[in-house]
């Protein structure tokens, strides 16, 4: 199965940077989908099959933790790895993300290599 990836971030700049990094890897062999918040991301998941989600935490409408909680509550998406990519770096926030079901955590600012390493470990 082609490994489609969903990028969820309210910043078009970050979505563009992450999409470029993903296109540079051989790990992602499918399509790259984008969403600007958790609600849009759930809509993408209802229509497409994805192998991995990269998600911001602080977003309008539905934040990354709420989105992750919704994902984990749905049996179709329970096993899809979700990596949180965020400026939020407190231990409490990391713990909250892990408890909600995050598979990985990358702090912004990030390097392309950090993203590639995380992808390689999950796909």
């Amino acid at each position: 199965m082609a490994s489609n990836v969903l990028i969820v971030d309210d910043s078009a700049a970050i979505r563009k940077i992450l999409a470029r990094v993903l296109q540079q890897t051989e790990i992602v062999t499918g399509s790259i989908y984008e969403a600007g918040d958790g609600l849009q991301a759930l809509e993408v998941l209802r229509q497409k099959t994805v192998a991995l989600v990269l998600s911001d935490i602080n977003m309008p409408n539905m934040d990354g933790i709420e989105f992750l909680t919704e994902m984990r509550a749905n049996s179709s998406w329970q096993s899809v790895p979700v990596v949180m990519i965020t400026t939020e770096g407190s231990q409490a926030k990391v713990l909250e993300a892990v408890q909600a079901g995050a598979s990985g955590y990358v702090r912004k600012p990030f390097t392309a290599d950090q993203i590639k390493e995380k992808l390689a470990s999950l796909l």
Binding site: D10, S11, A12, A13, I14, K16, I17, R20, N58, M59, P60, T86, T87, E88, G89, S90, A92, R107, K108, P109, F110, T111
Partner: protein
């Protein structure tokens, strides 16, 4: 919750800025002398991006720069060339602000408790003014970046009303239990 020292704000903003530029941009900006101000008044083409703080501490963090500097920041972050300040440039400036202020917030949280931040608001244009209402000025931390300059502005105070409410609640509970 205590007041955060100006020197600490400056140190954390410079560190956060350096980390971002080392990791995702093309050059390290040079720190310039710090000053204080209570208003932003600009008659030239410029960008002002604001993020609010709430929680144990309240206030705002912002980035202010010329249109030329905004285009340079976007070019470095997105690895493209921008000849005008368009939506992509404003989005890039918002994300630069978000990463600097977000990491500053995380560092402050370690010493002063949980702080929430808003999503960024970006203002672009000429002939505008912004004012910091409340007791404190903005601490302005400027940088030289290539042949342009930008600055980060931070105002951060303990939320006294929140502290008072917490004290009242604790006193009320104590009175009930005694």
């Amino acid at each position: 919750m205590g007041v955060i020292e100006s020197e600490t704000v400056v140190e954390l903003i410079r560190e956060s800025t350096r980390t971002l530029f080392e990791t995702m941009m093309d050059a390290i900006p040079e720190p310039l002398p710090v000053y204080r101000i209570s208003t932003v008044r600009d008659s030239h083409e410029s960008v002002f991006c604001l993020i609010g703080f709430s929680g144990e501490m309240m206030g705002s963090g912002s980035l202010h720069c010329s249109g030329a500097c905004a285009r340079q920041l976007a070019s470095a972050l997105l690895m493209g060339e921008y000849l005008e300040v368009d939506a992509e440039v404003l989005d890039a400036v918002a994300e630069v602000t978000n990463m600097i202020i977000g990491n500053f917030k995380t560092a402050v949280e370690e010493r002063h408790g949980v702080i929430g931040i808003s999503t960024p608001t970006v203002i672009y244009g000429e002939q505008y003014a912004a004012r910091n209402f409340g007791a404190s000025d903005w601490i302005v931390v400027p940088f030289r970046y290539h042949d342009t300059e930008f600055d980060l502005r931070v105002s951060l105070q303990p939320d006294k009303a929140r502290t008072r409410r917490t004290e009242q609640l604790l006193n009320h509970r104590e009175a009930l239990s005694s």
